[in-house]
Every structure is written in structure tokens, then in C-alpha cells.
């Protein structure tokens, strides 16, 4: 049965353009996910599909590259003392349930309203979640940077941490003690969003920051653990059906392993709120991109009438915005790293001058 499934799938031929595209997007996606814990998938999957890769193969190959990338990033950031493994595993377990529920909802919508309805549902949840959460993340990052750059746990998180609802769990690295009952819904929502829009981190990381009260550094690092567990489980499922195109996976991996390490190093250079700025920016731009895709689905459902030329332009604009989101995220990260590095060099020069003058301290 598996063989039949695989033989019916058309795997694409590779050429230099394809390879270069996937390598570069892999690198930038890796950079962003090393920094904010997730990202890259939302460009890679539609990108691969535009190259002619069947949807299932694109999703499977992407997922197969996601978990080793997350693993490498998580190990790197664990060395920097940013990963809370316990929090990651608890979240991943509840996210697993969330994924199953998310898939069930997707199937029900597909059955009731068809493909266009399903696409509309996906796009609308994209826009709704990203605008609300991304907007708040961005606003928060902006106000922190105004105040001088020191993060504090939100009032909500502090109140939740005070509620003694057993079982209480202590997360050492995140430095929080909170009831399991507040942790599970965050993981569940992460999983549901992952099943719907393929980027669970857009709700997981803000959830850990604003609801549980972890720092954005720890949250984004811990998200990599969640991504690893979920990606690994998902890959097993897809690979059992023979859908993983290992060639695509390896090409993306070539770029993304370089990127994810650079992103992880980047987190040690910048202030915490930079993670929020990058995440908020990307989420809002992606929301715009998905918003541009809504008219097509509305037309498909007969709720709106738009010409094919308009829809084509909107489709292209949607994809360009998607790439833009990733590119802008990468530029912010690299710019922040560059500035931090320059400041460090300047400080080192000052220390050296001081040592010349006063002797070694």
C-alpha cells in the first residue's frame, strides 16, 4: 500500500535554480528559527510547491528538515543555558494532542466546505492569530525598547504563577513555577496552530512569554525542543508513507544548519526584546501575505467576484510578502548582530587602551 502511495507521487527534477533557491531559503529560514525558535516553513512549503513539488511531498520534506535543524539549534542554545528541556517536553506532549485535534478540525472543514473552504479557514486563522498575537508582541517589544530594554514578566503571568493549582511544576532554566493546568493549553494551542498553519511557534513562543512568564530568550530556545519533538513525530508518519524527498531535505538542510547556528549565536549578542521585535515583524508581514490570499478563496467559494488577472497578481504579491517577512527578519537579526559586534570591538579597544595606561586589571 505504501509503495502504491509513493509511486503515484511525482518527484521533481533538480536544477541549479531549484537548488540555489532551496539552499538560500533554507539558510535564511534557519537563521530566523535559530533566533526566534520557528520560521522558514511558511516560505519553504509554498516555495517548494511553486517549484512543482506536490503539496504532500513539500510538507513531508520540509518537516524532515525541520527536526534535525531544531535539534542542532536546541543543542547550541542549550550550551548557552537558554533551553528549558522540561518545559519543552511538557509543551511538546500537549502540542501532540493539539496537532491531532487540529487535523480533525481540518478534516471536518474539508468535508463540509471543500478545498476552498479549508484554504479560507487556514488563511483566516493565519490572519487572525498573527495580527492579534504579532501585533501585541511588536507593541510589547516597542515599549520595552522605549523603557530601556529590560524585560519583565507580564501581570497575567505573575498572577497565574501565584495560583496554587496542583500539580505545580518548577521549570529551573525558565525560572518559573506554575501549575501544569496553565502549561497544557499553551502547548495544545501550539499544536493546533501547527496543524493548521504549519508554524506552531507563532503561538508557542508568545504563549510561553506572556502566559507562563518565561523570558523571550528561554521561550524561543525551548520552542526548538518542541519543534524537534513534533517534527520528528511528523516525519515518521510522512516517511512511513514514502513522501519524504530526501534530496530536497538535504539541500535545505545544507543551508539551514548554517543558518540555525548563526541565529543561535545571534541571540547571545542582542538584548532579549530583539527576539520579540523580529517575531512581531515577521508575524505581521506574514499576516498581510495571507490576507492577500483571502480574495482567491472567497472567489472560489463564490462569495466574491474577482478577475483571474487580479487573483494572479494577489497570489504573486502574497508569496513575495512571505519571502519579504523572512528576509526582513534576517536583516534585523544580522543588523543587530553587526551592531552588537561593533560595540563589543569598541569596548575591547577601550579596555585595551585602559590596560596600556594602567596596566592589566
Amino acid at each position: 500500500m505504501h509503495e502504491a502511495a509513493a509511486s503515484s507521487v511525482q518527484f521533481i527534477d533538480l536544477n541549479l535554480t531549484n537548488i540555489a533557491f532551496m539552499f538560500i531559503v533554507g539558510f535564511i529560514g534557519g537563521l530566523v528559527s535559530g533566533f526566534i525558535g520557528s520560521g522558514g516553513a511558511f516560505v519553504l512549503t509554498p516555495g517548494m510547491m511553486s517549484l512543482g513539488v506536490p503539496a504532500a511531498v513539500a510538507v513531508a520534506s520540509n518537516m524532515c528538515h525541520k527536526f534535525p535543524k531544531a535539534l542542532v539549534g536546541a543543542i547550541k542554545r542549550y550550551k548557552y543555558g537558554q533551553v528549558d528541556i522540561k518545559l519543552g517536553l511538557v509543551m511538546a506532549a500537549s502540542a501532540g494532542v493539539g496537532v491531532q485535534v487540529g487535523i480533525k478540525i481540518q478534516e471536518w472543514i474539508l468535508k463540509t466546505w471543500g478545498q476552498a473552504g479549508s484554504n479560507l479557514y487556514v488563511s483566516l486563522s493565519f490572519v487572525a492569530v498573527l495580527v492579534i498575537v504579532g501585533g501585541y508582541v511588536f507593541y510589547d517589544a516597542y515599549s520595552i525598547s522605549k523603557k530601556g530594554g529590560n524585560e519583565e514578566a507580564t501581570g497575567l503571568a505573575q498572577r497565574l504563577q501565584k495560583i496554587n493549582l496542583p500539580p505545580m511544576i518548577t521549570f529551573k532554566t525558565a525560572n518559573i513555577r506554575i501549575s501544569l493546568w496553565f502549561t497544557l493549553p499553551i502547548g495544545f494551542a501550539t499544536g493546533m496552530l501547527a496543524a493548521t498553519i504549519a508554524v506552531g511557534g507563532f503561538i508557542g513562543v508568545p504563549g510561553m512569554i506572556y502566559v507562563l512568564g518565561a523570558s523571550s530568550l528561554v521561550s524561543s530556545a525551548t520552542e526548538l525542543v518542541i519543534a524537534f519533538v513534533m517534527g520528528f513525530a511528523g516525519t515518521i508518519k510522512w516517511a512511513m508513507n514514502g513522501m519524504v524527498d530526501i534530496r530536497l531535505t538535504l539541500i535545505i538542510l545544507a543551508g539551514s544548519l548554517l543558518g540555525v547556528q548563526l541565529g543561535a549565536i545571534g541571540t547571545t549578542y542582542v538584548k532579549d526584546y530583539m527576539i520579540k521585535i523580529v517575531m512581531g515583524t515577521i508575524m505581521i508581514i506574514v499576516a498581510v501575505s495571507r490576507g492577500l490570499a483571502v480574495p482567491r478563496y472567497l472567489t472560489d467559494l463564490g462569495l466574491l467576484s474577482a478577475g483571474p488577472t487580479t487573483l494572479n497578481i494577489l497570489d504573486k504579491a502574497s508569496f513575495i510578502f512571505m519571502c519579504l517577512a523572512l528576509a526582513i527578519g534576517a536583516v534585523i537579526i544580522l543588523g543587530a548582530m553587526w551592531r552588537a559586534k561593533a560595540a563589543e570591538a569598541k569596548q575591547a579597544a577601550t579596555v585595551a587602551t585602559a590596560e596600556e595606561t594602567y596596566g592589566r586589571v
Partner: protein, 297 residues
């Protein structure tokens, strides 16, 4: 006018002033002799003789490695600045008297490498010294430490004492050395500049090695991707193939990627890396590169 160079500038200054009060003898140990001599000459409207400006007192710093550790150099630098002495740094390489003709080409090669490395290592020291306006001379010699020091003592006038930065036994130094020798023991594990340079090359080598391994792995997969795809997409238990593959790739290519950023100097700054919670309970480690002195007379 007759200057007595050998006994220090105060003799000059005192001769000019006529008397030698006790205070100036104390000052001799407290101040920069050359500057003061020059100043007193200038005050009397005399020009500073070139001879006086040329032969200042000197500190000789010797090392048997192709470089000086940072703390030794800093110590010597500060001392020279405080005393107003010049600094003569000498790297003493493994010697040869020319008798051993069989090993001569190899020895020459080693010595050439040593010379190159020592000159490379001393570059930064030069900059630091130039910033302080200290006079500095660097030499590379070959032979035993004792004989080189004596040789230099004869050739260079007014070497006051020797700072020994090498790990050589002091017995070797005693052989014929007529100068006071201070041995500086740099704190353990301190990086010697020349060695750090060498270590970077090692890093480059490792990066190239892992890079080749990665390239080989990619080549192995893409040389016959048709056959690979045939088995990898069979599904069922064959799912283990792509999963195992990405693990292997993430290890080898991941290590290579890590090294690439290391070589490029992009690594996490130590102070921003958050310590693990358990590490915070330990007492803070202090780094005090304070050289220990031992007088050897």
C-alpha cells in the same frame, strides 16, 4: 664635558649641580632617570647628548618559546615604563653549533619557522610598546639560554637584569650568567600568542576536514540519487532510512557549520551567555594573571 655613563644619569646631573645629596640617591629609585637627566640638562640650556639618549638602561626578557605570554609581556612592559628602562625581548630557539651537518637542513627549517613565528607573535607587543613610547628591541637567537644571555650582555650595554619567561630549568641559566635573573611563571593555561596563532590554524584544518566529510556525504547521496530515492520512498520500515540520514547529516554538517562560524570569529561572547542555574551557585572564578617572581642570584 665628561659624562659618566656607566653609573647612571644622576652622576651626570649631580656633576652638573656639584653635590650629591641623599635625596637624589633616593630619587634615583623613584623616578625616571633618563627623563630627569634630560630635563636637568635642558634647564641649564644644554642640548641632550645623543650618546645619553641612545644608551638607556635595559631589561632583557628571554623566552624559549616563539612568543611571550600576555602576562609576562604586560609585566615587563609596566616595569619598563615604571623604571624608564628600554626593553630587549629575545626568543631563544633550539640551538645548533653547525657541527651536526646531517641534521642541518631540518634544523634550519625549524629555526626559520621559529624566527617567523616569534616575529609574528611580537607584532602586537610592538604596537603596545609604541603606544607607550618605550624603546623596544626584538631578537631571535639560537642556542642555550645561558650563553645567549651572556652574549647579549656583552653586546648590549647596560642590561640591568633578566626576566626569564621560559619554563627552562634555572640550572641552565646559572651557567655563566652574571646578571640577576627573575623567573616569571605565567599562570597555568594562559595563552601564548604564538600558540594561539597555531591553534587557529588547527581550527581551520578541522573545519576543512569536516567540510570534506560533508562534501563527501553529499556527493555520495547525489551521485546516484535515483537509486537513493527508490529505497528512501518505499515507506513502511524504510522510513528509518531518511530519518537516520538526516541525523547523520545533522551531526557531520552541523559540526562543519559550527566550525565555519568559529573560524570566521562569530561566536557567543562569554559574558552574555547565561550561566546554567547550577553554575550560579558555585563561587565566581577569578582570573588574576599575576606573575610570580623568584630572584635567582
Amino acid at each position: 664635558m665628561n659624562f659618566v655613563i656607566g653609573k647612571g644619569k644622576h652622576c651626570i646631573a649631580n656633576q652638573l649641580q656639584g653635590a650629591a645629596p641623599m635625596k637624589s640617591r633616593i630619587d634615583q629609585f623613584m623616578s625616571n632617570p633618563r627623563e630627569e637627566a634630560e630635563a636637568s640638562l635642558m634647564a641649564k640650556g644644554l642640548s641632550v647628548p645623543a650618546e645619553l639618549a641612545r644608551t638607556n638602561r635595559k631589561i632583557l626578557v628571554v623566552s624559549q618559546e616563539a612568543g611571550f605570554s600576555d602576562s609576562v609581556l604586560t609585566y615587563a612592559l609596566n616595569l619598563a615604563e615604571r623604571l624608564g628602562y628600554d626593553l630587549v625581548a629575545v626568543n631563544v630557539g633550539p640551538g645548533g653549533n653547525g657541527q651536526d651537518w646531517l641534521g642541518a637542513p631540518y634544523r634550519k627549517l625549524r629555526q626559520a619557522r621559529f624566527r617567523l613565528q616569534a616575529r609574528w607573535a611580537v607584532r602586537r607587543a610592538r604596537q603596545r610598546l609604541a603606544a607607550k613610547g618605550l624603546r623596544f628591541e626584538h631578537q631571535v637567537r639560537f642556542g642555550t639560554l645561558g650563553s645567549v644571555i651572556e652574549e647579549l650582555n656583552r653586546a648590549q650595554k647596560r642590561i640591568e637584569f633578566v626576566l626569564n619567561a621560559s619554563t627552562a630549568s634555572e640550572a641552565e641559566m646559572l651557567g655563566g650568567v652574571t646578571l640577576p635573573v627573575f623567573t616569571i611563571k605565567a599562570i597555568q593555561g594562559e595563552r601564548i600568542m604564538a600558540q594561539q596563532e597555531a591553534r587557529n590554524w588547527k581550527l581551520v584544518g578541522r573545519t576543512v576536514g569536516w567540510g570534506l566529510a560533508t562534501a563527501a556525504l553529499y556527493a555520495a547521496f547525489f551521485v546516484d540519487s535515483g537509486a537513493v530515492m527508490k529505497y528512501f520512498t518505499r515507506g513502511g520500515l524504510y522510513a528509518a532510512l531518511p530519518i537516520a540520514t538526516v541525523f547523520v547529516f545533522s551531526y557531520i554538517h552541523g559540526t562543519f557549520a559550527h566550525l565555519v562560524w568559529e573560524v570566521l570569529g562569530i561566536r557567543a561572547p562569554q559574558q552574555t551567555v547565561q550561566p546554567r542555574p547550577t553554575a550560579a551557585e558555585r563561587p565566581a572564578r577569578r582570573q588574576r594573571p599575576r606573575p610570580r617572581l623568584r630572584l635567582n642570584v
